[in-house]
């Protein structure tokens, strides 16, 4: 029972991290229709960058500088790489994000080498004790931030003017453009948001499990989350993330850790066969 509660907390934390990555992917996909496979790599790059920035500037200014870096990274990717591909088949942009993932990996190796780093940062608070169960406060922070990010994004999309503009763009690029909406600006904004989300994800993942090159191996599982929840659904990101995180944590704990790496892909294949558009995804009717 004790270990069960800890598995649940661990699973929810993992789910929270998945949610943060999935939110980034969904934000980009919703507005640009590009599936950003490199989101997990952006999180890793963000975590490495945070290690350096926090060492230079101290905790709070370091994290703010990190967020600025994430925003710049997103902006750079959009302006330099995605903008020239407007008008090309969407699959070209998708292939480009795959290659981008490897470029991020190469930058990681060139700048930081293949070492493990500690995140030089402590989250406020201390572990919570419930009877015999000890819950790490960093885990709870991670879960809380994921839920907060979900709430913030939901509010942004449904209550603010910019969110409405983004939803309109997501509906149809040409119509949005002809109505005078800043479509290219929306593309840039969604990449900036995804870049900042990747920094937040990198921060909490780095605090809990350290920063190393193996991170994106596990983060690639987040694509299963996105497809499970639905490619264009914000709610799907958090529901899918939590489901996958829990399943993966319980399988690691009770069955075998070696199985845990495959779990996202088995779920991915299953959901693709049963319900390709995901739990909350919008089913698009194809016309000739």
């Amino acid at each position: 029972m004790v270990s069960f509660l800890q598995f649940i907390t661990g699973g929810l934390f993992l789910g929270g991290m998945y949610t943060l990555i999935a939110l980034g992917i969904v934000t980009i996909y919703k507005s640009t229709r590009v599936f950003n496979l490199s989101q997990g790599w952006m999180v890793t790059l963000g975590a490495f960058m945070l290690v350096t920035l926090v060492k230079w500037f101290g905790p709070v200014p370091g994290v703010i500088a990190g967020l600025a870096f994430g925003a710049l990274l997103g902006l750079a990717v959009d302006r330099l790489l995605m903008r020239p591909l407007i008008g090309q088949p969407l699959i070209a942009a998708f292939l480009l994000t795959i290659m981008l993932a490897y470029i991020f990996e190469g930058i990681n190796i060139l700048v930081w080498g293949s070492f493990s780093y500690e995140m030089p940062l402590k989250l406020p608070g201390h572990p919570i004790r419930l009877g015999e169960v000890v819950l790490g406060h960093s885990l709870l922070w991670g879960i809380g931030v994921a839920i907060l990010a979900f709430a913030a994004f939901s509010l942004f999309y449904w209550r603010t003017l910019m969110g409405r503009v983004m939803r309109a763009t997501a509906e149809d690029h040409q119509t949005a453009q002809s109505l005078g909406l800043p479509v290219k600006g929306v593309f840039s904004l969604s990449w900036v948001l995804a870049g900042m989300l990747s920094i937040i994800g990198g921060l909490f993942l780095g605090v809990v499990s350290g920063v190393n090159m193996l991170m994106y191996q596990s983060l690639l599982g987040a694509i299963a989350v996105v497809l499970l929840g639905g490619l264009d659904s914000i709610a799907g990101a958090i529901v899918g993330g939590m489901i996958l995180g829990l399943i993966q944590s319980l399988v690691t704990g009770y069955l075998s850790p070696s199985l845990a790496d495959v779990i996202p892909y088995i779920i991915l294949l299953g959901i693709l066969i049963i319900k390709p558009y995901g739990l909350f995804g919008l089913v698009r009717i194809e016309r000739l």
Binding site: L95, L96, L100, L259, L272, P276, L288
Partner: protein
């Protein structure tokens, strides 16, 4: 189809021929002779380069049929290569088969697994199908990693011996080179012909618009499975050669990075052209060799702490940046550049006309 002035097709055979003119025949035969005599004067380094290029070419030709012609993007091609490699290795190691019998078996096994993972393509398209092939990569490799440790020996790897035939020992690279090159040339010829056949045209129709293809009477589901079967058959053959070249089959050989690398070759060369697959593989292989040549020099120039980062970092960045540049500036790949060059040459001093 652009031909020199004064060359006309007067019979259907001429119109359908792959090799059309005398100079084309001459260059083809000259190239084949060059390939045949290469081991006589090439060093061992260049030979191993050619062998690896040949193996990669076979795999990329398969991916070209699946992705370039039929439009089913696969992110898990190296897993199908792994199926071929493991088939050969297990049949030779545990069942003591002859190597030559295992090569077609490797192709058939990979084709079977390919069809299995191609089944989702009935319902899925584009991005979604790509994701299911990504899942295939991880599921297949997890299978080889964890299932049947008595056969797959995932910790130590399976040792594979190089074959012997009619008294020729293929343990030397000079001899093994011929195995790879002969198979690669045959497979290239087959790929080139396949895409001109009924199936090839059906693949192109499915790629361009599968609904329209279905309307004009193409059995889309069946031809998608054909594409998976043929593409993965190529991968299986490549895997069989891969296993015998490295003489050891280990799960880390078949990482997803290599699957992506194959896709990169296809983008650089130009999707949907057989000559593009050849160009792409050669181009990215040369870049790989250049990086292994340059990185020790660069490592010498930086501080000792940074030196070990250079080689692995550059190895990843170099080819991916090339692919990104191609995606942005020449999405039709080197095959298109080649056509433009030929056309310029023909129309000089006028502007080219493609």
């Amino acid at each position: 189809m652009d031909r020199p002035a004064g060359v006309f097709d007067v019979r259907y055979e001429q119109d359908m021929a792959v090799v059309r003119t005398g100079p084309q025949w001459a260059t083809l035969i000259g190239f084949l002779i060059l390939l045949a005599v290469l081991p006589l004067f090439a060093g061992s380094y260049f030979l191993s380069f050619m062998i690896l290029t040949g193996i990669a070419l076979i795999a990329v030709l398969g991916l070209n049929i699946l992705t370039g012609y039929a439009g089913q993007i696969s992110l898990g091609h190296q897993a199908f290569v792994a199926v071929g490699a493991y088939t050969t290795a297990v049949l030779m190691d545990s069942f003591h088969w002859n190597f030559w019998a295992t090569v077609p078996m490797a192709g058939i096994a990979a084709a079977g697994v390919g069809v299995l993972f191609g089944l989702p393509s009935f319902r899925l398209k584009m991005l979604y199908l790509t994701m299911s092939t990504l899942a295939a990569q991880f599921i297949i490799m997890a299978f080889f990693n964890h299932a049947f440790p008595d056969y797959f020996h995932s910790v130590s790897g399976i040792r594979v011996n190089r074959p012997e035939l009619w008294g020729i020992d293929f343990r030397e690279n000079e001899a093994f080179y011929y195995v790879v090159i002969v198979i690669a040339v045959l497979m290239t010829f087959f790929a080139k012909n396949l895409v001109r056949s009924r199936s090839g045209r059906a693949f192109v129709a499915i790629r361009d618009n599968d609904l329209a293809g279905e309307v004009i009477g193409i059995n889309v589901a069946r031809y998608k499975l054909y594409a998976f079967a043929i593409g993965c058959f190529y991968a299986g053959i490549a895997g069989s050669l891969w296993a015998t070249y490295f003489r050891n089959v280990n799960p880390p050989h078949f990482h997803i990075d290599v699957s992506i690398w194959y896709l990169g070759c296809l983008i650089v060369g130009g999707m949907g052209t057989t000559v593009g697959a050849v160009f792409g593989v050669l181009f990215l292989r040369i870049i790989k060799e250049l990086v292994t040549f340059i990185s020790p020099i660069l490592s010498g120039m930086v501080s000792p702490i940074d030196a070990p980062k250079i080689a692995p970092g550059l190895a990843v960045i170099s080819w991916t940046s090339v692919v990104v540049l191609f995606l942005i500036f020449e999405p039709r790949g080197l095959a298109h550049t080649w056509e433009v060059l030929k056309s310029r040459f023909r129309h000089w001093p006028f502007k080219y006309s493609i």
